[in-house]
């Protein structure tokens, strides 16, 4: 099934409670790990029919925090708002040169990107990384050069595994006006990363209108582009490159209303006269973690049922 769920999936109420109890020293690490495993197991079950699976990143505090372990002299410090949400991530500060601890890369990837509950290293998994502008925003006093150096090193390692999608999250495009130099950095980095392997590289640009930056985004050397269709109308796709995969953010992370087949049909109808060389992937409009787990699960089920029913209709 062509649904992907990159990034952090919401923790269950049981895990939310367990982390709270753990922080208050009322739960042991072993007990907490057992609850994390249960979340991973149920998330794995929910993704059973999907072509690519995510681990849910249930042990991540935010998309930046794990970098604390792999960059020399890095520390997570003050809280910074995650764009225009009520979610806060910790800023990373570094008393060195933003250099990767290369010798620790294998165990670091093992710890943060794989889960025994989800799949083996050969299975089809989506890895999520912040893209350079997002990384720079949460890495104090870092330059694009620093961000590029760090992300390139990690991407190379992640892409050495077969059957993977590397999904870069980047809300900054559409939020901040980028300079030509910044755009150049982005293009060059992606061009180089594309040479690392035949794995797919996707770029998700949620939350904001892409109208002003669509030419830039559409020409980036990636295999797929994720678009938030609660921030963008379908008319944005007029110049969408036919050879790229459209990752349609149609599960709203602004609302707990469970999208119905009528709404999904409505979206499909809007695409009626458009041609895509690849099948469309569906996903959340923003980041799934903005919703409670039970709601995100229901939205996912509704989407799966619609895709299943649509495929039944088209085959009969």
């Amino acid at each position: 099934m062509n649904i992907i769920l990159p990034g952090q999936y919401p923790r269950s109420e049981a895990l939310v409670n367990a982390t709270r109890q753990f922080d208050r020293h009322r739960l042991s690490l072993e007990q907490l790990k057992a609850v994390v495993k249960e979340d991973e197991r149920s998330f794995c079950q929910a993704q059973r029919d999907l072509k690519y699976q995510s681990t849910g990143l249930f042990n991540w505090q935010d998309l930046i925090r794990p970098f604390e372990d792999i960059i020399q002299g890095a520390n997570a410090t003050t809280l910074i708002r995650f764009y225009e949400t009520n979610l806060f991530w910790r800023e990373l500060s570094c008393n060195g040169n933003w250099t990767l601890k290369e010798e620790h890369l294998d165990p670091w990837v093992e710890k943060w990107f794989f889960s025994k509950e989800i799949a083996s290293k050969e299975d089809s998994i989506i890895f999520t990384l912040p893209f350079i502008f997002l990384f720079r925003k949460f890495a104090k006093d870092s330059s694009l050069e620093d961000a590029t150096k760090v992300l390139k090193g990690i991407a190379k390692k992640l892409l050495s595994y077969p059957n993977k999608i590397l999904y870069f999250l980047e809300p900054t495009i559409g939020w901040d006006a980028l300079s030509l130099e910044e755009k150049h950095y982005a293009t060059e980095l992606l061009q180089e990363i594309k040479t690392f392997s035949k794995n797919l590289i996707f770029l998700g640009v949620p939350f904001f209108s892409l109208e002003k930056e669509k030419q830039f985004v559409f020409q980036l050397p990636v295999d797929g582009i994720g678009i938030d269709f609660y921030a963008n109308s379908i008319s944005l796709l007029k110049d969408f490159p036919k050879e790229k995969v459209l990752i349609a953010g149609i599960l709203s992370t602004h609302s707990t209303e469970i999208e119905t087949a009528t709404q999904f049909d409505g979206f499909k109808a809007l695409l009626e006269n458009m041609q895509f060389a690849n099948e469309i992937y569906y996903t959340a409009s923003g980041i799934p973690e903005l919703l409670p787990r039970i709601i995100m699960d229901k939205k996912l089920n509704s989407l799966k049922e619609w895709i299943h029913a649509s495929s039944f209709v088209s085959h009969s």
């Binding site: 708002r81 225009e84 991530w89 269709f229 109308s233 609302s255 979206f267």
Partner: protein, 403 residues
């Protein structure tokens, strides 16, 4: 409304005593909880501590009536706590409420709690959806009446603002059945949100402000930590504040608390609130250095005050960081106040408080921070040559607080 110079207050919440929390969670109390009640009762000079201890000695299975008594004692303890620390404006540190968002949502119509979402780290909050037209009976009236019985000092009641209530909620009423990708989808969502905001301001926040005014409240604080979250909605936040205050502008003292926000985003639209809101309270200590001095290099957290210099607002400055146990010295607090007075040009324009509510600190730490806040204010007053009679607390005993 005019206040005396350098008025001090606590912004919002204080931690709830363990005996209050456990009693309401139906969790058994232990000796440590009861010793805490005894210690603070004696320290704060609570006359009826023995009665509380008798109620708590049951340790579990409290009746509704006993829980009501425990709640009342919790309010009394917190009120006396703030009084004893020497603050000018007093309340009970949110003892009657679960939390600033959840309390309102659970009393309002049109909302339903959907589950927990992350705020940061492992900290989550229960987020609700608006599923119908929002409305609410006036809130916090019992709270005001209870606190009036506990103190003769001026009372401040904080109220969660409309923009924050909307921004922290999901909407599945106003934007119901939106088709992703439809024409003008972002514009339609914006329209829905404006209506949501307007309804919350008019149907939830204003009735509470009006009722509190009718009950004799003189100081109301509108809490809007979310105000600067979305840069394209600053004008909507301003409009919602106007609707919330409505015809009450000028009738009582309104302050607005804005914390952990991107303050420059609020300028200049927030100036439209000059005749509506009397004071704007900012979180500054969190952004400041711990070094003494009144040079701008030492007082980085207060640089934002330049943006507010040419407004008509009084400015509340946060002088204590609420996220650390570090106890700011009176001298550090003095220097922060002096720096602010220098920028704003008039100590009458400066109010003094912690950055935010102290609920994450123990009472021991919170008390030391607040006591030093008052000591620091007094040192600043001496440095500024302000007569003690012009400081709020000294003036309270003899004359009216409001001029």
């Amino acid at each position: 409304m005019h206040l005396h110079s350098l008025v001090t207050h606590e912004i919002g919440s204080l931690a709830k005593p363990s005996w209050r929390v456990k009693a309401f969670l139906n969790s058994p109390l232990n000796e440590h909880d009861i010793e805490g009640a005894k210690y603070w009762g004696e320290f704060l000079g609570i006359e009826s501590t023995e009665h509380l201890l008798k109620v708590l000695s049951k340790k579990e299975h409290f009746t509704q009536q006993e829980k009501a008594e425990i709640l009342s004692f919790s309010s009394l303890y917190a009120t006396r706590f703030l009084e004893k620390s020497g603050l000018d404006l007093i309340w009970d540190g949110e003892q009657h409420r679960v939390e600033m968002y959840e309390h309102v949502i659970k009393h309002a119509k049109g909302f339903v709690c959907r589950g927990h979402v992350r705020s940061f780290d492992n900290k989550y909050y229960e987020k609700a959806s608006c599923i119908d037209l929002p409305s609410c009976k006036p809130l916090h009236l019992d709270e005001l009446e209870t606190i009036k019985n506990f103190t003769s000092h001026p009372i401040k009641i904080p109220i969660t603002g409309a923009y924050t209530l909307v921004d922290w909620s999901f909407d599945e009423f106003y934007s119901k059945h939106t088709v992703p990708g439809m024409n003008n989808v972002a514009i339609e969502r914006k329209k829905s949100r404006k209506q949501f905001l307007k309804d919350v301001a008019v149907q939830i926040v204003h009735p509470t402000l009006e009722a509190l005014y009718q009950k004799g409240a003189h100081f109301l604080q509108i809490d809007e930590p979310a105000a600067a979250t979305k840069r394209e909605e600053i004008a909507d936040f301003v409009e919602a504040t106007k609707l919330s205050v409505g015809n009450l502008a000028g009738k009582l003292f309104f302050s607005m608390h804005l914390c952990f926000s991107d303050y420059p985003r609020l300028m200049p639209p927030i100036k439209e609130l000059e005749q509506i809101i009397d004071a704007i309270h900012l979180e500054c200590a969190n952004r400041d250095t711990l070094e003494l001095g009144v040079h701008k290099d030492k007082r980085k957290g207060y640089d934002i005050l330049h943006s507010f210099k040419d407004t008509a607002f009084k400015i509340g400055i946060g002088v204590c960081d609420v996220h650390t146990d570090y106890i700011e010295s009176p001298e550090l607090i003095r220097d922060r106040i002096l720096f602010a007075c220098d920028i704003l040009g008039d100590p009458h324009r400066v109010m003094v408080a912690p950055d935010c509510g102290l609920r994450t600190r123990t009472w021991e730490v919170a008390f030391k921070k607040l006591q030093n806040l008052v000591f620091g204010r007094n040192l600043a007053a001496i440095a500024l040559g302000i007569n003690a009679n012009n400081l709020a607390r000294q003036n309270l005993e003899n004359t009216q607080f409001l001029q």
